[in-house]
Symmetry: C2
Subunit: 219 residues, 2 copies
């Protein structure tokens, strides 16, 4: 029976920071005061700082010496850039993955779709985005390109706070569900190019909505 307790405090902080950012408790642009956050977790500032350094490397927070750490806010252009890079990398990953997909991989895709439906019913956005991730990364990981998958994960992390806005709307959740099922079919057919195309559309739908949301936010 393996406990999930992380081996170091930094990792615990890291998890909590990620969760807080994802859940919108730490909104883009706000400063993360080390003292406050450390006290909240009952730890000292050192592990907090180290976790923040990791997030800095991933681009999740912005760092200014002697000023501190701030949750990065993305403008529309940056979001578009992220999606463009994702398109390049994910297409490549999928092309490598699809021919290698095994039954377990397909099962994992199906399971992720069901998990999303279940989480959607409970209106549990965190679980929803987690299952969404499992779905997509089940398509990338069989490629065996660890480094590439890691970069893709970074890109996902960067846009997480915005994606959770997207999942807030039930309409979008339904659309995502339909598209995922189509993607699963393409995977079953081992149709790489079809799958790449479906993913492109999938992303562009998300972009359209995110543009709207960001547009409203700016007004």
């Amino acid at each position: 029976m393996a406990f999930k307790r992380p081996p170091t405090a930094q990792e615990a902080v890291l998890e909590e920071l990620r969760r807080a950012i994802l859940a919108g408790e730490l909104k883009p642009g706000t400063q993360i005061v080390q003292d406050a956050f450390a006290e909240r977790l009952g730890l000292s500032r050192v592990p907090v700082r180290e976790a923040l350094k990791i997030l800095e490397g991933e681009g999740q927070v912005r760092y200014s010496p002697h000023h501190g750490y701030f949750v990065t806010e993305l403008d529309v252009n940056e979001l578009l850039e992220i999606y463009r890079i994702r398109e390049l990398l994910e297409s490549e990953a999928v092309r490598l993955s699809v021919p290698l997909l095994g039954d377990e991989d397909l099962a994992r895709l199906e399971q992720a779709i069901e998990d999303m439906a279940e989480a959607s019913g409970r209106k549990d956005i965190v679980a929803l985005t987690a299952a969404n991730r499992r779905f997509h990364f089940s398509l990338f990981e069989p490629s065996g390109m660890h480094r590439m998958v890691r970069l893709i994960r970074q890109l996902w992390d960067s846009s997480d706070p915005y994606r959770s806005l997207y999942f807030g709307e039930p309409v979008h959740r339904d659309a995502v569900d339909r598209e995922h099922r189509q993607i699963l079919k393409a995977a079953r057919r081992r149709d790489s190019e079809g799958l790449v195309h479906l993913l492109d559309e999938h992303r562009s739908h998300a972009i359209d909505e995110l543009k709207k949301i960001l547009g409203e936010e700016a007004s």
Copy 2:
């Protein structure tokens, strides 16, 4: 008169770590003992740890909880993966950049070529690789895709220790010089596709040599 002294100690450590890794003082696979490195710089371990965390995020060092930090060693497959990702991202960046290239950008390219020739004469590998970076990134930065350029920079960082092996050989330095001049010509013609093609070849030459070097190392 602005001193170049970094505002924080971590940054000083970071510079020194990068330099040491690039210069081969810290060989891939060796552990970086925090105490030892801190003492060497006359600092405490805290800023050293923080600098290491940044490098971890960039993939320059590997971290294992309670075991410490090790300079990452790349196997051939990982190196190939890095070059494949670079191909995807750099091609895109260049396609966006070339139409936007101004006279200053072309001048910078020419300057970088001259700097490399000069550094090559002095057998200053560090200056050589620095100028090489300036050359290539002058082709990426005008794209305006900050995030993409940053990712490309990470990939370059990861393979730096190996690239400096490559530059060790005068034969390779001459080949690189010739190829850079061809690339500059294509840039002057604003020939995006030609430039992308030249860059592809440029990279694959480097890969061929790196394979050899790594192959010998394994034996």
